[in-house]
């Protein structure tokens, strides 16, 4: 904590960034800028090392998810109970799980379902939540009442109940029912956050100014309010991505999640924690959890970079 007292606020690095932006004026960020907000953002992003690292990581994860056999040659379904819970060994670096399956192979093959569920559900939640919350916050009045109370009703549904009911009724296979249920039960939180953020952003001087200049609702929302209100949604989304991958495991544990032979990190993590298996063989928890952490880290970094890039206050 020694540096806490000595460091002047705000940080030097940001000061520098901010100083550059100061000349552009802050009240109407994109007005005098030579490029649009989004191409500006892209320009900034490419130069941000955090973005580059996270993007590379995500590309790697996506490649693994699409072609797991590139780096894992075994069959994730081939399990030999005789090797149950054996520790790491040559040729089996991550050891074996309770069923005697190769943990490395399962971790690699688990990427596809986990990332697909996490990503799709997050995108769904962020979109629905941002639209419902954004409209409620922007228009206020009757629309706010209608949309907010609708949100409240959904808030009331316990996740376990909703999941059991929806997933026992939907007979679709694959990841989509799981994605749908997670999205359907999780959007209210994002909607609340988005609504609050839009309500604040709406009050800012530049928005009022733009409105006075005759900007339409769509333009106001997309060009002025959204860039200012999107930060908390991004933060929520990046963390939710990880919790959704874990939530998928909870659903599987309840018997309504992904079905075998689909392999996922969530299923392996919950199998490892079910009945304290991890106490004797931490490796069966460690590797899928590490893969999940890495994914979340990549997206948190990406979220940070994107948020910085589109934040008008930086210009």
């Amino acid at each position: 904590m020694s540096d806490a007292t000595s460091a002047p606020p705000p940080m030097e690095a940001e000061e520098e960034n901010a100083a550059k932006g100061l000349t552009a004026g802050t009240s109407s960020p994109d007005k005098d800028a030579p490029r649009g907000l989004w191409s500006d953002a892209w320009h900034d992003l490419r130069r941000n090392p955090i973005f580059v690292v996270s993007a590379l990581l995500i590309v790697f994860l996506v490649v693994i998810a699409l072609w797991p056999s590139l780096i894992a040659t075994r069959d994730p379904q081939r399990c030999d109970l005789a090797r149950s819970l054996q520790g790491p060994s040559a040729g089996h670096w991550f050891g074996f799980d309770t069923q005697g399956c190769d943990v490395y192979t399962r971790t690699v093959y688990g990427a596809r379902a986990s990332i697909a569920v996490g990503l799709c559900a997050t995108v769904g939640v962020a979109l629905v939540g941002a639209v419902v919350g954004g409209l409620a916050g922007f228009f206020g009045g009757f629309w706010d009442t209608l949309l907010s109370r609708l949100t409240d009703v959904f808030f009331g549904i316990p996740v376990v109940l909703g999941a059991i009911v929806f997933l026992s009724m939907i007979s679709l296979s694959g990841i989509w029912p799981v994605v749908l249920v997670i999205a359907a039960l999780s959007w209210p939180q994002v909607a609340r956050i988005a609504r609050g953020a839009v309500m604040t952003a709406k009050q800012h001087d530049y928005v009022q100014a733009a409105r006075a200049l005759g900007a339409g609702n769509a333009r106001l929302l997309l060009r002025h309010i959204m860039p200012n209100a999107v930060a908390p949604v991004i933060v929520m989304a990046t963390i939710m991505l990880g919790t959704f991958i874990a939530l998928e495991a909870t659903l599987s544990y309840l018997g309504v999640g992904l079905r075998p032979p689909t392999v996922s990190w969530g299923v392996d993590i919950s199998a490892a924690s079910d009945g304290m298996q991890f106490r004797n063989a931490p490796h069966i928890l460690l590797y899928p959890a590490a893969a999940l952490s890495l994914t979340v880290l990549a997206f948190i970094m990406l979220g940070d970079a994107v948020r910085d890039a589109i934040d008008p206050k930086l210009r």
């Binding site: 460091a7 109370r149 009331g156 609504r195 933060v235």
Partner: protein, 307 residues
């Protein structure tokens, strides 16, 4: 403002009815609960029929709902399958869960906002990185694993706490369970605060405040924090209900017979009086918490007005 609050209170009625009906239909949709009461044995049709009559399960769904709501307004929330009145279950579960939620919420507010402000002001520093790593751990490692490990270390190895809390736990007994419960939310609160703070440090009014020569502390608390809190407060308001209803894992680990546990049991045993009864109260809590948050908006940002 007063009129706004009253209007919001009136709006609770349709939400309340909608939510309860939805839950009622959903529990009904899982199927007939009676055959689960006979263990691994095939149910005997006559006894099953008698049980269905006892719990009104033989009536058509809308009538069941009407019968149920009628009873609720007379204070009768029905009976769980073990013969215990649901009101008795609620009387016991809600105060405990409320206390647990309070502990978790206070930890979120104190730790989460403090960490958020510090990391927001010092992005990229070692503390920021440590908090990020901790966040990743909290997200990737299931609560069950973290909880049981903490319980084992503190309760068995060190003997500092009792692994299971007493049937009517005090607040201090709930400190560790509350911390475990709040972990994931802490991650959200910290990162939301961090982002808001980082954003607002660059806002005009902060620069102005600094330029006016106001003390740093005052700027941070009065100007920076106040303006950064809206997303955090929104999150916390929405989290109140989650902390009560979604504490199943924490409650199981520490043997707390709270709302999450009873609700979970009710769902698995498909006992609609228990589930609907608990959700009814939860919905009220959600609604009040969200109303409080909306009122707080106006306090934190005076430009927001309700008409």
């Amino acid at each position: 403002m007063g009129r706004y609050v009253i209007r919001r209170l009136v709006q609770m009625v349709p939400v309340f009815l909608g939510a309860t009906f939805l839950i009622f239909v959903m529990v009904y949709a899982i199927g007939d609960p009676v055959s689960g009461l006979f263990g691994d044995r095939g149910p005997d049709p006559a006894t099953a029929q008698a049980l269905r009559e006892e719990f009104d399960l033989d009536e058509p769904l809308p009538l069941q709902y009407v019968l149920y709501m009628g009873k609720i307004f007379t204070g009768d929330f029905g009976t769980a399958f073990n013969g215990q009145p649901v009101t008795q279950l609620m009387e016991h579960a809600f105060p405990i869960s409320f206390r647990l939620m309070l502990v978790a919420l206070v930890l979120e507010v104190v730790l989460g906002i403090a960490l958020g402000v510090i990391t927001g002001l010092r992005r990229g520093r070692s503390l920021d990185t440590s908090v990020l790593v901790a966040t990743l751990v909290v997200i990737a490692v299931p609560t069950f694993v973290l909880g049981t490990t903490v319980q084992y270390v503190l309760g068995v190895k060190l003997g500092w706490i009792d692994p299971a809390v007493s049937p009517d736990p005090r607040l201090d007994e709930l400190l560790v369970p509350g911390l475990i419960l709040s972990l994931v939310s802490l991650a959200y609160v910290t990162r939301l605060t961090r982002t808001s703070v980082a954003e607002n440090t660059r806002a005009d009014y902060i620069r102005t405040a600094h330029a006016k020569g106001l003390p740093r502390r005052r700027v941070t608390v009065r100007h920076l924090l106040r303006n950064s809190l809206i997303p955090v407060v929104t999150y916390l308001g929405a989290d109140v209900g989650n902390l009560m209803a979604g504490a199943i894992v924490t409650e199981r680990i520490f043997n707390i017979q709270g709302v999450g546990y009873q609700l979970f049991q009710g769902i698995l045993r498909q006992n609609s009086p228990t589930v609907v009864g608990f959700v009814v109260v939860l919905v009220l809590i959600f609604l009040l918490a969200n109303l409080l948050v909306d009122v707080l908006y106006a306090v934190l940002d005076p430009r927001i007005r309700y008409v």
